[in-house]
Symmetry: C2
Amino acid sequence: MTGHSYDLAALKAAIAESAGLVDAALDRMLPRPEGRQARVQEAMRYAIQAGGKRLRPFLVLQSARLFGVPDARALRVGAAIESLHTYSLVHDDLPCMDDDDLRRGLPTTHKKFDEMTAVLAGDALLTIAFEFLAGAETHSNAEVRAALVLRLAEASGHIGMIGGQVIDMLADKSFGIAEVIELQRKKTGQLFEFSCEAGPILGEASADDRKRLKGFAEEMGVVFQITDDLLDVTSTAEKTGKAVGKDADAGKQTLVTLLGIEGARAEAERRAKAAVAALGPHAARAPNLAALPFFLLDRDS
Amino acid sequence: MTGHSYDLAALKAAIAESAGLVDAALDRMLPRPEGRQARVQEAMRYAIQAGGKRLRPFLVLQSARLFGVPDARALRVGAAIESLHTYSLVHDDLPCMDDDDLRRGLPTTHKKFDEMTAVLAGDALLTIAFEFLAGAETHSNAEVRAALVLRLAEASGHIGMIGGQVIDMLADKSFGIAEVIELQRKKTGQLFEFSCEAGPILGEASADDRKRLKGFAEEMGVVFQITDDLLDVTSTAEKTGKAVGKDADAGKQTLVTLLGIEGARAEAERRAKAAVAALGPHAARAPNLAALPFFLLDRDS
């Protein structure tokens, strides 16, 4: 525990509420398996339904409410970011990538279906993310929809998430702190940044507000990654639902291998405080958002 | 030869001019390999530079000029559709899909690099297609940019191109003419339809004009597919730069296996005429577009 006080029950309730809303939105928005292409539509749903905390849609919803954006709009963006995140997991699990058989305790998509279907279902989830953003219901101002498409393409593309995955696959023992932070900011941080910027983009807020939410996401991303790496070292497969100790086995550097468990935890706490500071005047108006980095510090799965 | 007269030299010149313009646009717009993620950016360029006739960007440019759209805008859409088409080839060639070692006489992307890089380069090409469309330089009206994103996501997604690939992988000897046409319209036809609709969308033309260009593309797509299937039977690997006779080996039905060589050729000619008829008043104003289906009928590679 960090000693930082926040309303844990309220935050847990908010995360659960948001997950319920986004699950319902995904169920409405994703295609129902139909016709001769039903197999890929089933695989899209299977991959999404494997679940998780729906952290990225939570960030979208919370940042959107801060700027008075109706949930109905934010949920479309939440469905988009979750579809995109899920595609990255489906492709990441493939035999030619991380070669994982399990994800959150369930067979990965290529195990449940087959490799070909997993490649195509991932492609289709990536594609539909942009369809969700560009749809007229996302915002009455098409400039906003185009801005969301552009920002997500950048965050998830060759200099964003995909760039991070490439760096990760080439990473070795020589990586220092700066390299690890660059890798992780691209690989996982960029989608958090998109999620938090979605609120001010949807709310047509000022550039300063967008910077505040982006700054929050950037620091929070490091907290998420450090706590993920800590869990990889300290937790059990039972709790996290996936293989643990993989980073050390693969000879990869993380902030935990570079700073040690105590050093990494201290860095994560420093980053959690920096995240709240970045929110500026919004921290008090968005207690659940401000509590999230500390909640991540305390997590055990 | 079909006996249908058109200016072959003018069409060839127009195709070459368009390919030159789109190659230059792709070279400008695709990322230069830089930093730790250079490998995936190199693979993106490698896959695109493997070339081809750039037929889809040709359709975009020609349909755009018909509605007075500046080339600079159309070329961004041309770059987007070529990036998207190329991603589909990169993923299609993977060992878990068609498992092809050669594409247009060159090693496929996963052979030149590795499978992981090919998956990620494909993902990045798909992602950047939407970035190109949503960028402000594509059109001053954001409604147009959002409409392009939406139409491309639909054409290439689970009910479009990806749907067609799924149907193709499950296809067997039981497929009749209707099933083969549905499969091919999704797998290859939808991207032609997007390419031809891009002109009226960029030109903010009437719904009738959009229908005309879409109708043209639909018929032309069948011509393209039949002539492709004819080449698979009658041509040599040397001319097409890829393995031939694969459909028959795989026990798959095509309009050629279902109608016979002469029957399929007659159907393609009928479709070529229908394509020109669909253009209506635009056929006379766009001689290169109107000639294309007949050019496809005559092609030998």
